[in-house]
Symmetry: C2
Subunit: 243 residues, 2 copies
Amino acid sequence: MTRELSLLLERKLERRDDLTPDEREALREVLAGTVLKRAGEDIVSQDALVDCSSLVVDGFCARYRDLADGRRQFTQMNLPGDFIDLHGFVLKRVDHGVRALTDCIVAMAPHSRLKVLTARHPHLTRLLWLETVVDAAIHREWLLALGRQEALERMALLLCEIYSRLEIVGLARDFRFRFPVTQAEVGDFLGMSAVHVNRTLKVLREAGWLTWDGADIRILMWDRLAEAAEFNPAYLRLERLPI
Amino acid sequence: MTRELSLLLERKLERRDDLTPDEREALREVLAGTVLKRAGEDIVSQDALVDCSSLVVDGFCARYRDLADGRRQFTQMNLPGDFIDLHGFVLKRVDHGVRALTDCIVAMAPHSRLKVLTARHPHLTRLLWLETVVDAAIHREWLLALGRQEALERMALLLCEIYSRLEIVGLARDFRFRFPVTQAEVGDFLGMSAVHVNRTLKVLREAGWLTWDGADIRILMWDRLAEAAEFNPAYLRLERLPI
DNA sequence: TTTCGTTCTTTACATAGGTTAGTCGAACAC
DNA sequence: GTGTTCGACTAACCTATGTAAAGAACGAAA
């Protein structure tokens, strides 16, 4: 069981650069047990000191920040294979919550173990560092989207990004994927009201760009979506560059 | 000269955690020379492989992303003492440009030297990692702002953040500071048109919350601004927590 | 089966903020 | 001097998107 979890982590880091047997061994020491979180539960609560980061094994979750009057913005989607709050390892105090959008299984990585790893394995440390830096690159893409792109462009970007990321971990192919998220939640990603999410989806559906039944999404015209979003997957850093 | 630069860097990292004499010594090896960039010039161009990160010694610059039709979003302000593109050290390919808003002096930190440092100094590595992670925390604050806050709230947030960050490095006090940036540039930060920046400033000026003459800003009612922005400096991670 | 709570969907209406098109003044070149 | 450029500022108008309200569809629970 724990063995399988380490493999998930190994495969994730190996997409970026080769690992030595020694480094693989070290990764096996990092994960403690797993925890099940129910849909709607908070995995991390806002404004807490943390001593543990976690790896999403199964399910969808999202990082969020709230305003006093209840306005909410999701700042990042976390898919299976993603490290949630790895930045918490160096930040110590996290400034936001993470919510399970569906039932989730997460594996814990205690900071004490990560610290041992970083003391002994500089290259592995840089790979973990890279993961947090890719998160920041995704943030920048969404800063552009929220600041300067319109509703339809943002929706297209979300679909392109989620499809691409799910495909990498084998959870999407042939332009189909499951995305079990309500329209209100999509609105919290895109910085728009649930009503406008609905309107925007109607336009996309009627233009024949996609179908969206329940949680099953099928993209019919990828090129149109990618063009509308000005989607360039470079920001996901899918390239393999030794570091 | 180079000695003074290292001191800037040392002081920056020491705000987060103590450094050993050994670590200080290592930092002195990191910076190569300085470069002068003129206002309006690009310090880093979009979508390039980078082999060097840089430290702002003097001046203001900003990271940006553009859309094909010219819409632009600044994703981060860089003030003196900030590491520009430290994330480039692990990311290798950067996805955005950095523009000098005023004449700037920047000190270069070649990645080859940073790599030597990370191989020998795990604690220092975590401190550098932390700097990139704080950048991401600031991104998240602005994702919330751009997604869910209104023009006036965002403007208030910008003023509170810039003042706080300038104060830390001794470039602001008594609620006064120089901010030599055009209203159009402010719009590119806040995701709004220059016209609306002007309107919003007029409201703030007439309400007596601030004065803004040329590049000289004076905040008259900090509490009002902070309340409107829901400004909580926690996201800047000013706390000192050993890592 | 009925009831209940979600979520999706639509309509009608309100408004924050964009766009366009200026004026004015300061700085600068010649 | 004169022209030129750039930024601050304003007004008129327009539209993308928010808000409020309600019905339809669906699954879960009883």
